[in-house]
Structure formats: structure tokens, C-alpha cells
């Protein structure tokens, strides 16, 4: 929502200055710029930024700056002040920090009391805290600061939340339900605005309510402010109730997309409430304006999103600033959209959603984590501050309580929401394949929470044009409190009571991912056979276009070729490897591992040695491969770390974690080393060809034959940090990792390993028929191994290579033709 109106604050000029500075510092904070506070308080910069404030603000500023200079001159002849107190100098940033600290501590506190947070949603508690803080300030005799200022809200507090929502927007369900979401967001909001506004006007005309001075247009304006569902409130409440994905995306999507409607309605009514009449031409202009505001916002966002994706293509050498591009481009998108009075929220959503797939493929794993954490951190602090500020603003603001107006507002909002949802669902269900049930409708209607956006819009109203502004604000606050407290607190028990389907907590398994892809292609195929082009067909077309052209431009290296399933698999693999390292790099498997079976079978603790040997065949090829990879990548990473530590560089190696971390990891490596010794038998030997279906099948199906396959290699832990896993027979892969080696991580040793495996594979391929029913120990005798070694080296398993190094796409060069005939 945009801030278009010059501020007309009831508070004095001092707060203007404060606010200006506050805004400026917050902006700087958000931009991540490292400007000194001295620069921040220089009058030039603040005068530039506070364009909306008018002349008095600038004059004030100059006045104070002038008085500073004056004071300095008079004190020059005194003794040099050894210690002086200048609170005013640091006041603004200091107070901001205090607020942020308060918010963070509150958030921390609630999670320490699990029982409380299970009953009352966090948002309610935060509002209560805000009320208490406001009350305390008032008791102390101070003037309550106008904390929920519209500028502060729209320029600093809202963008992080929306960006977080947009960046992590679940695109698939969102696009699948886009029709329903748009229907609720556009038609539903329009209906709510006119229903509430119109009926409120009718009520105001009743004798005895003392509201006869309220006209129709202000009523409609009020209706359009109050009717929009608020994304911040919805997010806060829905995140706690863990509702199923469909309902979540319906309510949340609505709250995001109704922004354009609200912006247009707000300005339309605000424009004409002074002028009086609204002509049909204005209505048409309003519709056009709506299209421009929404589509323009999306276009601006998409442009910045593509720019961000394109920029991230070239950041492989400056990994540290990668995350910054995501934030800055998105914020620029928001500001640019606001500049043209377009929907900033839609711009942010579009920007986040467009850039994400490409940026994620380009930036390093660590940068991705940084982006994720920064977004989460900012959005959660913003959210906390917004709710606290709502409480403070309630204490601060002048109120004009009118029982009729307030109660009618609350009732009308509920009624119009219910009618709107039920009516629209009736229409929508005719077109939907998965129908919305009565329960769903209830949750959608009940989840329509109002929040701080409505308050900030009300706050923006011109006091002279709208004499009833105070009453509006009071009603808005009451409605917010009603929805957040009553609906927000009861929705959780109601969801339980109605047994509404909850979100699946389980992680996505690889089987599900396979079948998601499978189903996509299957349905596209069936649609093609049916001969009509439904949305699967178009989605397929779009995907192919994306893959063929866009990804090529926006994603660096060879990664654009990677289908989704493979990307998913690599991500999963990578996560497992990391988890394994984090858990001490040992035998214990993290829960996410899809294959406890074979692991359990080889755990030496549970089984006596004899049994363990018998279990060896059980240790399937995939599993074995996995452990190998993980162990190898552990070694790899440690070496990288060592290397980069020596160089004292951060940029060169995103895995650099500092000295302490290094020590910790080193300790882990020692542990790992021990474990490796224990496990060496299982790790080095079966030297399975990675790509032989025969082998694998045989292993899964008839493991008894494998008993002969024995450990032939050993890990020799070397005190000089020199890992040498030697093979005692030919053809068994050797892992040689020199921790202190300055060589590139993927060079010789790895290739050696791969080439040998490749040779193994080849050998097996040649005698595939023969070995099928034989003892699979045959593969150990590799006669033909040596010859092919050189030819085949280096082109094996590019995915694995990536997995081991930083996920940056740089080391894809070695991809050649497939190895197997």
C-alpha cells in the first residue's frame, strides 16, 4: 500500500524531527548501508529524505542544528570536557535499538512459556505488551510517541514481511488456486467495502445515533480501509494453527492480492470525498486504475526480479555480498512501485517469486542460508514491532468512542465476510475441481483478520477533510482487536473441533518428489490424448520455454540443464551430508536419511562381528555410495577450511567459519577418523560400480551371494592429518586426501577415485551376463581395469562432484558424454 498523502500529524514539530530521523536511520538499517550516525544526522540528508514533511520540519532541523553550533562556540573557552553527556546525539538510534530489543526479548519470552503460547497467539500477547508499554510511558508523564507512523510502517516495517512471504511463496499451490484467490481478493474485497460502507452509511442516518454528519463517501472510504484482510495478521495467526496448505494459501494469497483493490478504492474515495459526486466516468477510470496498479506492480516486481537473477549470475567471485542483491533489488522494486503509486506489495511478491528459482541456482549454499535467515529475522522483528506498536498506538491515539459506530462496524465486517465467502464459493465451486467444503468456507471466512495496514491507512487520512478521522481510527483499532483477539484466539480450537485437515508435517520424501514429477507429465500426456489443452498442457509449455530460454540466460554455468527432480535430489543429498557432519560425522544417522535399513544392519554395536560380516551384503550399493560421498565430502571440506584459514580470506571460501569453528570441526574429524577405522570394512570394499543395474538388483534381491565380498581395504589414521585409505587389492578405489594440500578440491585424488570406479564399471559391464547369477565377488578381479582408466577418468558422476564442493556451478566443466555405452 502506498503512502501518498503528506503527513498531518497531531503531534508537535519535535516529533516530526524525530520521526524523520527515525525513518532515515531505519532506511539505512534496511539498506544495509554503513553510514555513520554523524552523516545520518546531517541536515542535508534528512532534508532530502523527508520530502513529505513540508517546510516546518526542515526549518526545525536547521534551527536545532544551528543551536548546536551556537552552543559549541560559547563553550570553546572553557576547559576541555573530559566526559560529557549528549543523549540527544544518539537518542534516535538508541530508542530504535531499545524497541527492537524489547520486541526480540518479548518474542524470546513467549517461547520460554510454552503453555501460554499454546493458548494465546503471539500477536495478541504482543499487542498486550504494547498496551502495557504505552501505559507505562503515559504514567511516566511522557508523551506517547506516534510509533505506528504510516511512513515508518509502509517503508520500513511492512516490506520485510512481504518480501519474506513473497520469496518463500509456495508457487505451486498458489498458481493452482490463483482463480479462487483472485476472486476472493478482488470481488470479495469490493463486496466487503461496499457492503460495510453502504450499510454503515444507512445506520448513520438513523436518528439518535448522532452520526448524521457522516456522509456516504467517507463511509465507503472507511469500508474500503476496513475490508481488506491483513497479511501480517493472517501470517501471524495461521503460522500457529498449521492449517492445510490449500486453506493457508487461499487466505494468505487473498490478503496479499487485495492490496491493489484497497489502494485503488482508498484513493478513489479519498479523491472524491472532497469533491462530492462520483460519475460513471470515474468508475471506469477506477477500473482502469485498478488494472494499472496491480499489473504495473507485478511488472515492476518482475523486472527487478529478473535483474536480480541476472546479477546473481555473476556473483560467484564475491559470495559475501550475494544476499544483499536479493534484499536491495526487492526493496528497490517496492520503492519503485510506490513511486508510481502502484501496488508495492504486489511488486514485492512478484519480485521475490520471480527471482527465487534462478537466484537459488546461482548463489552458494551459504548465501542461500543467509538470505533465508535474514528474511526470517527481519520479518519476525518487523511483525513483533508492528503488533507492539499497535498496542502503543492504541494508548497514544486520541479516541472518539461511539458505541453504535464501533459495534455496527464489527458486526458488519463479520456478516459481510461470511456472506462474501459463502456467495463467492458458491460461484467458484462450479469451476473448481477440488471443491471448497463448508468447513473450508468457515475457516476462510473466519480467518479474515484485519491488521496494521488498515490502521496505517486510517492514520493517513486528512484531519481537515475527514473530521471523523478519530472515530474511524477508534473503530479500526476495535475491529483489529476483535479479529486478532477473538477470532485469532478461537480459530485454533475451532480448527481442532471441526477436524479441519492439518498441514503435513513430514518432510518431502524423494518418492513423493518423483511422483509429483511423474504426475505432471502423466496428466499432460492424458490431456494431450484427450485433445484439449488444459492447464497442465500450458504449464508444460511454459516449463519448457523456461528451461530452454530463460534459465539459460539467468543461471550461470551448466546448472540450468538440471531438471527439478535432480535438483531436489542433490539438495537432499547435500543436506544429509551436512547433517552427518554436524552430528559428528559418525555412524548415527540423522532422521532425514531415507535409508535406516542398511545402516541399522551394519551397526557394529548391535551385531557381533560374525553377524556384521554376514550383514555386509545387505549394505546396499546406494547406501554405501552415500556414505562414501559423505565421508569424502567431510574430508574435502576440512581441507578447504584449512586452506582458507591459512589465507585469511573470507571471500575466497564461503565455508570459512573462523578459528573456533575450525577447531571444533577438527575435533570432529578426529572422531570421524575413528569411526572410519571402525567402518573401513564396509566403506572401501564392495567398490560397486555406481551404474550397474545388475549389481544393484542382485544386492537388493539376493544378498546371500555376497558373503564372499569382504573387506579388502583399511583406513590408516595418520597423525599427520594425512588420510590414506589404501586398497589391498587392485581395482578397489583409493581415497587419498591430503588435508594440507593446497590443490584444488576436485583435482587429482577425486579423479583417481572416479576413474577407478569407472574402470570397475566397465569391467562389470563386459561380463554382465556372466556375473548375473554368480558370486558377485567377481567384480573384485578386475583384469581390464587399468586400460580404460585414463580414458574414462573425470567424466563420472558430475552431480557428485557438485555435491562435494560448494554448490556453485563452477566445476561443471568436466561433463562430457555419458560413460556407459
Amino acid at each position: 500500500m502506498s503512502v501518498r498523502v503528506a503527513l498531518h500529524s497531531p503531534t508537535g514539530s519535535r516529533s516530526f524531527l524525530e520521526r524523520g530521523l527515525l525513518l532515515l536511520v531505519m532506511l539505512i538499517f534496511l539498506e544495509g548501508t554503513v553510514l555513520t550516525l554523524g552523516a545520518a544526522s546531517s541536515p542535508d540528508i534528512s532534508a532530502q529524505d523527508n520530502t513529505g514533511g513540508g517546510h516546518d520540519r526542515r526549518d526545525d532541523h536547521r534551527g536545532i542544528a544551528g543551536s548546536h553550533e551556537h552552543t559549541n562556540y560559547t563553550y570553546t573557552k572553557k576547559a576541555f570536557p573530559v566526559l560529557s553527556l549528549d543523549y540527544h546525539h544518539i537518542q534516535v538510534p538508541f530508542e530504535i535499538s531499545l524497541w527492537v530489543l524489547l520486541a526480540s526479548l518479548m518474542k524470546l519470552g513467549f517461547h520460554l512459556i510454552p503453555r501460554l503460547s499454546s493458548i494465546v497467539p503471539e500477536s495478541c500477547l504482543l499487542i498486550v505488551v504494547g498496551l502495557l508499554v504505552g501505559g507505562l510511558i503515559k504514567l511516566a508523564g511522557e508523551e506517547v510517541p506516534p510509533v505506528l507512523d504510516s511512513n515508518l510502517f509502509f517503508l520500513c516495517l511492512l516490506p520485510p514481511i512481504i518480501l519474506d512471504a513473497g520469496y518463500f511463496l509456495p508457487i505451486r499451490p498458489f498458481m493452482e488456486n490463483i482463480g479462487t484467490i483472485l476472486m476472493f481478493a478482488v470481488v470479495g474485497t469490493l463486496w466487503n467495502a461496499f457492503f460495510v460502507g453502504g450499510l454503515l452509511y444507512a445506520v448513520c442516518q438513523i436518528e439518535g445515533t448522532y452520526l448524521s454528519q457522516v456522509e456516504l463517501l467517507p463511509c465507503l472510504l472507511f469500508g474500503s480501509i476496513i475490508s481488506a484482510v491483513d497479511p501480517v495478521a493472517v501470517l501471524a495467526v495461521f503460522e500457529e494453527i498449521h492449517i492445510n496448505e490449500l486453506l493457508h494459501i487461499l487466505v494468505f494469497g487473498e490478503s496479499l492480492l487485495n492490496d491493489a483493490v484497497t489502494v485503488v478504492l482508498y484513493h478513489l474515495f479519498e479523491e472524491y470525498s472532497g469533491a462530492g459526486e462520483v460519475t460513471p466516468t470515474d468508475v471506469i477510470l477506477g477500473v482502469i486504475c485498478f488494472l494499472i496498479v496491480s499489473l504495473g506492480g507485478i511488472a515492476v516486481g518482475a523486472i527487478y526480479g529478473i535483474l536480480a537473477a541476472f546479477t546473481s549470475r555473476f556473483t560467484s567471485h564475491t559470495r559475501v555480498i550475494e544476499p544483499l542483491f536479493v534484499f536491495v533489488y526487492s526493496y528497490m522494486a517496492y520503492l519503485s512501485a510506490e513511486m508510481f503509486h502502484l501496488s508495492g506489495i504486489m511488486a514485492l511478491i512478484a519480485c521475490g517469486a520471480v527471482m527465487r528459482p534462478y537466484v537459488e541456482a546461482n548463489i552458494s549454499h551459504k548465501s542461500h542460508t543467509t538470505v533465508k535467515y535474514f528474511l526470517k529475522m527481519w520479518s519476525s522483528v518487523s511483525e513483533t514491532l508492528i503488533f507492539i506498536f499497535l498496542g502503543v498506538a492504541t494508548v497514544a491515539g486520541p479516541h472518539a468512542w461511539n458505541w453504535t459506530f464501533v459495534s455496527v462496524t464489527v458486526i458488519l465486517c463479520l456478516v459481510s465476510r461470511v456472506i462474501g465467502v459463502v456467495g463467492l464459493t458458491f460461484i467458484i465451486n462450479k469451476f473448481r475441481i477440488v471443491k471448497l467444503t463448508t468447513k473450508d468456507q468457515f475457516i476462510v471466512a473466519y480467518g479474515g483478520l484485519r491488521g496494521a495496514i488498515a490502521f496505517s491507512l486510517g492514520y493517513l487520512l486528512d484531519k481537515d477533510l475527514f473530521p471523523m478521522r478519530t472515530m474511524f481510527l477508534t473503530a479500526i483499532i476495535t475491529e483489529i482487536f476483535f479479529t486478532v483477539f477473538v477470532q485469532g484466539m478461537t480459530i485454533k480450537p475451532l480448527v481442532d473441533l471441526l477436524a479441519v485437515k492439518k498441514k503435513q508435517e513430514a518432510k518431502r520424501s524423494i518418492n513423493e518428489e518423483i511422483h509429483t514429477q511423474f504426475l505432471d507429465h502423466l496428466l499432460t500426456g492424458i490431456e494431450d490424448i484427450c485433445g484439449h489443452y488444459g492447464h497442465h498442457h500450458w504449464k508444460d509449455k511454459l516449463n519448457r520455454f523456461n528451461k530452454k530460454y530463460i534459465k539459460k540466460c539467468l543461471i550461470a554455468g551448466e546448472r540450468y540443464k538440471e531438471p527439478q527432480l535432480i535438483a531436489f535430489y542433490h539438495k537432499m543429498e547435500f543436506k544429509q551430508a551436512i547433517e552427518l557432519v554436524e552430528s559428528g560425522g559418525g555412524v548415527k544417522l540423522p532422521s532425514a536419511m531415507p535409508s535406516q535399513v542398511s545402516m541399522q544392519n551394519i551397526q557394529p554395536k548391535k551385531l557381533p562381528p560374525a553377524v556384521a560380516e554376514r550383514a555386509l551384503p545387505q549394505f546396499t550399493k546406494g547406501r554405501e555410495e552415500e556414505i562414501r560421498k559423505i565421508l569424502r565430502s567431510n574430508l574435502q571440506k576440512t581441507r578447504q577450511r584449512l586452506r582458507s584459514y591459512n589465507r585469511h580470506t573470507l571471500v575466497a571460501d564461503p565455508f570459512e567459519d573462523g578459528w573456533n569453528d575450525f577447531l571444533l570441526k577438527k575435533q570432529r574429524m578426529i572422531e570421524l577418523e575413528k569411526k572410519m577405522t571402525e567402518m573401513s570394512n564396509y566403506l572401501t570394499v564392495p567398490a560397486a560400480p555406481p551404474d550397474s543395474p545388475t549389481m544393484c538388483r542382485a544386492r537388493l534381491a539376493s544378498g546371500d551371494d555376497f558373503k564372499a565380498e569382504k573387506a579388502g581395504a583399511k583406513v590408516i589414521p595418520d597423525p599427520n592429518a594425512f588420510y590414506n585409505i589404501k586398497a589391498s587389492s587392485d581395482g578397489v578405489p583409493t581415497i587419498q586426501v591430503d588435508l594440507a594440500s593446497p590443490q584444488s578440491p576436485d583435482s587429482v585424488n577425486m579423479l583417481n577415485e572416479f576413474s577407478k570406479r569407472g574402470a570397475t564399471d566397465q569391467g562389470l559391464g563386459q561380463r554382465e551376463g556372466a556375473t548375473r547369477d554368480e558370486d558377485q565377488g567377481l567384480m573384485m578381479k578386475l583384469s581390464s581395469a587399468g586400460k580404460e582408466e585414463k580414458e574414462e577418468g573425470g567424466n563420472k558422476n558430475p552431480g557428485l562432484m557438485r555435491c562435494l564442493s560448494d554448490p556453485g556451478p563452477s566445476n561443471e566443466d568436466e561433463e562430457d558424454e555419458p560413460f556407459l555405452p
Binding site: K435, T437, A506, S509, I510, N511, E512, I514, H515, F518, L519, H521, L522, L523, T524, G525, I526, D528, I529, C530, G531, H532, H536, H537, D540, R544, E562, P563, L565, I566, Y569, M572, P594, S595, Q596, V597, S598, Q600, N601, A612, R614, Q618, T620, K621, G622, E625, E626, D691, P693, C696, R697, L700, A701, S702, G703, N797, G799, E815, E817, P818
Partner: protein
């Protein structure tokens, strides 16, 4: 089509509609398409389906075409393939892709779920022995990634292996050392895709859908 033929087909359609759950309108549309594909013959052959140009880019092309000629998808308790299918069989296969009706009970939902998953299962289980072996699963994943070039083929096996291990560990839990996982049975398949809402995902929009006639079951 002559007048007498259309009367006859209409009568036939009603009969088929009762069994497949399609509305007469939908059947009419599908029939039109069937005629178009089979070049006005009574039966449809593999070549007819293979000639659909839109399918060329589909990595599952062969599997999808096979599914239409798979006896398991046509009648219960029969295995093997047929060479040509009539319109009724065509509808039978298509009926697996009908969306669920609005109000269905839990049992109906479960039945629908099993039906749809059975269809997918049958697509994987190429030798009709009731289990998806590792080899079959690998082939399925390979097909799925067949448009992804060399990277796809390299990774497909690893993915299938990981998926197979996942199935084994989820369905068996702990396995004894001398126990072996021979393949995914249908029960395992149900279990592993428990959270995969296939009943709300595996459907397409048939033209002129009449929601009232849609019921669960054949």
C-alpha cells in the same frame, strides 16, 4: 456418422456412462476425439496414440501409451497387454483421471485413492508381478528424466536407489541382516505415498463436466 449409428451409440453411451461415471456430454466429446485419433475406426492402436504430436515431448510417452493397452487398467484380475482397444476401454482408462466428487465419504475417498495409485503402480510394474523391483523403478525414473540429457541418465539410477532405500526403510523399519527387500508391493506403495494427496491431484478437466454425475468408483 449416420442417424442410425448415433442412436445406437447414444444407447451405448448411457450404458458406459453408468459404468465409468462420465456424463453423456463428456462421453460425446471423448468419442469425437477417439474417432479422430483412430481415423474413424472402431478400435485404436498404439500407432494412433503414438502419432499425437503433442506427446513427442513427453518423457513418459511410452509408458502412457502402454497404460492404455494394459489389461489391468481395463478389467480386474487380468494381466498382459492388448493390441487394440475399443472406445469403451479408452473410456475405462480415462475414467482414472476423473476428479473426485464434492461430497464423498472417507471410505469412498480411500477407494478412489487406491484406484488412482493402482493406476500409477501398474505403470511402474511393467511385468505385472505385483511388485515394483529396483530395476523397474530405475527404468521409471530414467524415463522420467529421459529429456534431461546425460545428467538425467547419470542421476536417475542414484535417485531410484535412494527412493528404493527410502521405501525399504519406511515400510520395513528395521530389517534383519539376512533379510532382503525384493521390491515395492502395492501396500508399500500406498504407505510410502501416504501424504501424497493423489485423490486431489490426479485428475484433469474433462470438457463439459457435469459435476452431479461424478461419483466414486467405476
Amino acid at each position: 456418422m449416420g442417424a442410425s449409428q448415433s442412436v445406437r451409440t447414444e444407447h451405448e453411451f448411457q450404458d458406459v456412462a453408468d459404468r465409468t461415471g462420465f456424463s453423456l456430454e463428456q462421453i460425446g466429446n471423448l468419442n469425437k476425439r477417439f474417432r479422430q485419433l483412430s481415423k474413424n475406426e472402431e478400435t485404436l492402436s498404439r500407432q494412433d496414440l503414438a502419432s499425437i504430436s503433442a506427446l513427442d515431448n513427453n518423457p513418459l510417452r511410452a509408458q502412457i501409451i502402454n497404460a492404455f493397452f494394459d489389461k489391468r487398467n481395463l478389467r480386474e484380475n487380468e494381466a498382459g497387454t492388448v493390441q487394440v482397444i475399443g472406445f469403451e476401454e479408452f473410456l475405462m482408462v480415462m475414467s482414472h483421471f476423473r476428479p473426485a466428487a464434492m461430497h464423498i465419504t472417507e471410505e469412498e475417498r480411500e477407494k478412489l485413492r487406491r484406484e488412482k495409485l493402482r493406476f500409477v503402480f501398474n505403470m511402474h510394474d511393467t511385468d505385472s508381478d505385483g511388485t515394483i523391483t529396483l530395476e523397474e523403478y530405475r527404468r521409471a525414473v530414467e524415463e522420467l528424466l529421459s529429456k534431461a540429457g546425460t545428467i538425467g541418465q547419470e542421476t536417475a539410477k542414484a535417485i531410484a536407489d535412494a527412493a528404493m532405500l527410502e521405501v525399504a526403510s519406511t515400510t520395513r523399519g528395521k530389517m534383519e541382516p539376512d533379510e532382503f527387500y525384493e521390491g515395492i508391493t502395492f501396500e508399500n506403495f500406498l504407505q510410502i505415498l501416504k501424504t501424497f494427496d493423489i485423490e486431489t491431484r490426479m485428475h484433469i478437466r474433462f470438457l463439459n463436466m457435469d459435476t452431479a454425475t461424478m461419483r466414486c468408483g467405476k
